[in-house]
Amino acid sequence: MSVSWDDLVASAVIGTARRPPAIPEEPRTVLAAIDQDDAEGAVLKAGAVLGLYRQAGARPAVEDSPRPAPAPDERRPYCSVAAAERLDTMLAGRFRTVLGEWLRLVAGAGQLVPPDRLPALLHAGSVDPRLRASATDVIGERGRWLGGRNPAWAWASGTADDDAGTWATGSRDARRLVLARLRSTDPGRARQLLASTWATETAEDRAAFLGVLATGLSMDDEPFLEAALDDRRKEVRHAAAGLLWGLPRSRLGERMAERTRSLVEVPAVRLPEAVDRAMVRDGVVARPPAGAGQRAWWLHQLVSATPLSTWTGEPARLVEQAPPVLRQAWAEAAARQRDEEWAMALLDAGHIEQPALLGAVSHDRAVAVATRRVAGEGLTPGVIDVLDHCPDPWGPELSRVVVERLAEAVKRPTRPDGRLVGLAGRLDPTVAAAAVAAVADHSGRWSDVVSLFLDLLTFRAEMYEELPS
């Protein structure tokens, strides 16, 4: 039998001191010249020659296992190179907060993210689930294909999610995501899913999942929430009551109305004597926060939870007559119950210590209120709170007023509120040039705040220019 490579290696492993080596004869043309008497030299030379033969001659195997089907062709164009580089900036961590807006703009322009940027974008979506909905609109066929290849990006695959399966076996975060997504598309189905496992959930999960129901809340949820008021755990009872306070036609609402009708006759108010067990069941907290009077606190909660329809008369007139304790409670009620008429009455009367009221009125009205406040008072901390609650898009008028007031704020000797920088993320991008002109020359004193603000605003303005709307 002829001597093989394996025999030669075995000889080398054992060592020529123990055993004379086995030196292969083929390929004869080269190996015949080897001096067999020099055992170590023969092993090394044969090792060099055959090792090289094997290396040079190695051929990979032919695979016949089927390859995955390739990604279908795209039907939409890719965004421009400049737009893609802007995406790189955000994925690298700068102006990351603008990423969601960028994705929506690209989708609005009917464009796609180029393939070489997809891994970074899909990774970002895996880390931050809030990006997923807008990302799925711009990843195209290629992105969906990658979602099917990489389990970490499965959310992008576009295949029907196995909601029931995830709900049954997924992690807490995964289940919460399923619930939140379903809640925004099919609230009833989400509630049924939650109800189906309610009895076996931990208290912590029950409270967390109830919080998700705030999206798409309706009277259909009322029986489920009413039942949750008798839960064993306080956090769960409170979460349920908090939701029911926003449903004026609920049984809880009726009970609250019953309680407050005997206490309030606008403008007269009588403070409650005590908190009973039924009130506690409906979410009333007996212990006041620091600095608040106990009985005034009880009244505040009862009125906040009372359906606004309980109060007969024009909201505007009632607001005018009411003492502050009632106005504050009504403001909270109007925000929770999303009652536009009451919210406007309160806003018009100038009682908006409750900026959340802006969420209860139409978009146009919210922007008009915010514009009036900014123009009238400048960018005070209270007004910035209002702007925080003012829904997007702000439009050029509000944006222009904000820029004017900002130019004043950065001229003052006191350091501007750091939150001003964030406004640049929401202003209408058409005011960018005006903003640069208005504040650029004041940059000496508060140049850090000013340049952050201008960088962010300019970044967004350029982003809009790159993408046709």
Binding site: T16, K45, A48, L146, L454, E462
Partner: protein, 422 residues
């Protein structure tokens, strides 16, 4: 400089984060004292003075950044590319003129070489290397006498000391090869065969060096390269040059302890030859950025001597680089491997070989050609998914480095665009 586009500017950047950072300093309002002529562009951003020599291109900036080009220099080019009205034709400021003059200054006249002294120096080094290699041979023979099995119990010092002796003997290339043996011993199944082949090749080096004078000049050069006796640029440039439209198909940058190595791979569109441009930078010094993957340059390359010339220097550029619009490469993996076999037959000490494929489909950790031939990929997760994203399961062009039976992909060609891999 070809017509400046933001894409071209991005290709000059050392990494993606630099492009992102450059975007942030590319706005007209951030720049002052800008200008350009047909040689250079300059400007001041946040107090830093940036200038770009358009011929090379080369970069200079007064900022403390270690990256070259820094974000300011890139930002300046982006500014010029996207807001040409912000960078006007202007007389060159003194500082820029000085810098350009320094850059263009002809290298100082060298003292004429005394051929006799030089021959003596070289003979001395050859003898020192020879003595070192004899010592290595005794050590290799001892290893085979004791048996490779004993190698597994050796401490790292055992290999490292021998490697250090080779460096002392002015054969640093052999030192590197010896140090690799420590890794082979720990490389898992089949290590004895790999170690034997490697030790055998070192022995071949010793044998060759003993009768160096009797070998053809090219083989002498192979041996000299293998022991790590480098060539001066003058020696290389004195040889014949190969003119071609060289596609720059990939680039690898490796961080060593105290320096960085940049390997830029070129493929001639006419000659189909491949070439390697090696650059080194100590510490944080910049690596040259003249050859940008995804571009093509009409140039003369002077190859280092050897039987299978691979490493080269750019002797002369006939035109500015242009964006790459066509791709070459082997149509089959076997064709590329046949080329490697020919290379190894010519020079058994070749370690890393380029592989450029015209069309193959990446999936997971393998790359498969139309015939079903499949090679393993040496990639991390980031590279793997970047490859899959760009290919989408369709055939794509791939350029990379073949070593130890696996392909490390460096760039992927799809939709007439080259995407470099991390």
């Amino acid at each position: 400089m070809p017509t400046l586009t933001s894409e071209l500017v991005a290709s000059l950047a050392p990494d993606a984060a630099s492009v992102a950072a450059a975007r942030q300093v590319s706005h007209p309002r951030q720049w002052s004292a800008t200008g350009h002529d047909d040689r250079a562009v300059w400007g001041t951003c946040r107090g830093y003075q940036s200038m770009v020599d358009l011929a090379a291109p080369a970069f200079s900036c007064s900022c403390p950044s270690r990256k070259v080009p820094c974000k300011h220099a890139l930002g300046l080019l982006l500014l010029w590319a996207e807001s040409p009205e912000a960078v006007r034709d202007a007389p060159v400021p003194a500082a820029v003129e000085e810098w350009l003059a320094r850059r263009r200054k002809a290298p100082a006249e060298r003292k004429p070489v005394d051929p006799e002294a030089r021959a003596k120096r070289m003979a001395g080094r050859a003898a020192r290397i020879g003595a070192g290699l004899e010592e290595l041979d005794l050590w290799l023979r001892d290893l085979v006498r004791q048996g490779l099995a004993s190698a597994q119990t050796r401490p790292f010092r055992y290999w490292d000391e021998m490697a250090a002796r080779m460096v002392d003997a002015q054969a640093p290339g052999v030192g590197t090869l010896v140090r690799r043996m420590a890794g082979i011993v720990r490389s898992g199944d089949g290590w004895p065969g790999r170690l034997l082949a490697h030790a055998g090749r070192l022995h071949l080096l010793v044998e060759g060096w003993r009768r160096l004078d009797t070998l053809p000049a090219e083989t002498q050069a192979d041996l000299r390269t293998a022991v790590g006796w480098s060539w001066t640029a003058e020696e290389v440039l004195a040889g014949p040059a190969v003119r071609d439209r060289w596609r720059i198909v990939g680039r690898a940058v490796v961080d060593e302890e105290r320096f960085r190595i940049q390997r830029t791979w070129l493929e001639g569109s006419e000659t189909r030859r491949t070439a390697l441009i090696l650059d080194f930078a100590a510490g944080t010094a910049p690596l040259p950025a003249e050859l940008v993957p995804g571009t093509v340059v009409d140039a003369d390359l002077a190859f280092f001597p050897g039987t299978w010339p691979q490493r080269a220097l750019v002797a002369r550029r006939h035109a500015e680089p242009e964006r790459l619009y066509d791709w070459g490469g082997a149509s089959k993996i076997d064709e590329a491997l046949d080329g490697h076999a020919r290379a190894l037959a010519a020079n058994p000490w070749l370690d890393r070989l380029p592989m450029v494929l015209a069309a193959a489909v990446p999936a997971g950790n393998t790359l498969r050609d139309a015939g079903g031939v499949s090679v393993p990929l040496d990639v991390d997760d980031g590279g793997r998914w970047q490859l899959e994203a760009v290919s989408g399961g369709h055939p794509v062009g791939v350029a990379g480095e073949w070593r130890d039976g696996a392909l490390r992909p460096l760039a992927v060609w799809a939709d007439r665009r080259l995407v470099t891999l991390p």
